[in-house]
Symmetry: C2
């Protein structure tokens, strides 16, 4: 599977494409950052992010997009911009019919380092090792985007099993659209 | 001037179009709500909001878009969705080159009722009176969108004077691109 990871941000939006399956060595296809000028107005910054992400989607045609789930516990000003940049990523992917998964920062850290409280350097070091790179990708947003993609590839089998179980359960419940009414009355 | 007001929200995104100039009676051209199902996934909800707003922009061709400025002091879960819905509104307008203004809830309330702490009912009553409607628009999100558009029309002259002054100042400063270097040395 080919996954585009997006670490959303208004000033620097990290993007990274990873291909592979859980249990096999993974391959980095591309990594970078979509930047927007801090002095531009918000609407134009969001348009620039949209255009940047569209180019990545056009070039790499990922089957899945993994976006960092934003929490509002952090810095008030930053988090609003992050939420708005993530909205653009969700929009671009969903408009193309590409499934989008949200992963929390601690899920991503735990997936690549084994600890949900790992620091940036540790995440960068593991991304470098897992993708067999010469050096950690810079800036950290780019490394985080790759970590998100790796996290999605590794978590995907479990999530797919959960989805299958939920679908099976739904097909067996008496409230399913095609089941007879008042069956258990 | 014709203004589309947008009260952003994932479940109900209020939209209202008002035409007029400050100091003259205003006219409501349209009002409504773009709704998205709460059980749909976030990406598809954002796509539905984009499609809904695009229809309003196509039909009414506003010269300005006024969006409520989102603060993160409020409910944590709600505010993220509101920020993401507002990102879609900013994106849709900016993509078309339509200027977007952000107004805070208290600016809007103060503009239409005279008090920044007015309640929903008071805002609804004033919107009804100012636009000469038979009854307050429902739901409150729709009335709020109209209040945003009214606020923008009334605040616009002052904001435009400020922009003109800033532009004039920029053209006179010695650091302007075409001015000679070291002039004041």
């Amino acid at each position: 599977m080919r996954v585009l990871g997006v670490d959303p941000g208004l000033t620097r939006c990290g993007v990274g494409v990873v291909e592979g399956v859980a249990g096999r060595p993974l391959t980095m296809l591309g990594v970078g950052v979509v930047r927007t000028p801090a002095d531009a107005d918000l609407g134009h910054r969001l348009v620039a992010i949209e255009q940047g992400l569209e180019r990545w989607l056009d070039e790499y045609r990922p089957e899945f997009v993994a976006v960092e789930r934003v929490f509002s516990q952090h810095n008030v000003r930053t988090v609003m911009g992050t939420a708005q940049a993530s909205a653009v990523a969700l929009l671009c992917a969903s408009r193309r019919g590409i499934p989008v998964a949200l992963h929390t920062p601690s899920e991503v850290k735990a997936a690549v380092t084994g600890s949900g409280r790992a620091d940036k350097a540790q995440v960068g070091a593991m991304v470098t090792r897992l993708l067999r790179l010469d050096a950690p990708p810079k800036p950290a947003d780019a490394a985080d985007a790759l970590a998100l993609a790796i996290c999605h590839i590794w978590r995907a089998p479990a999530q797919n099993r959960l989805r299958q179980a939920a679908a099976l359960h739904a097909s067996r419940t008496p409230t399913a659209p095609n089941s007879p009414k008042g069956r258990s009355a």
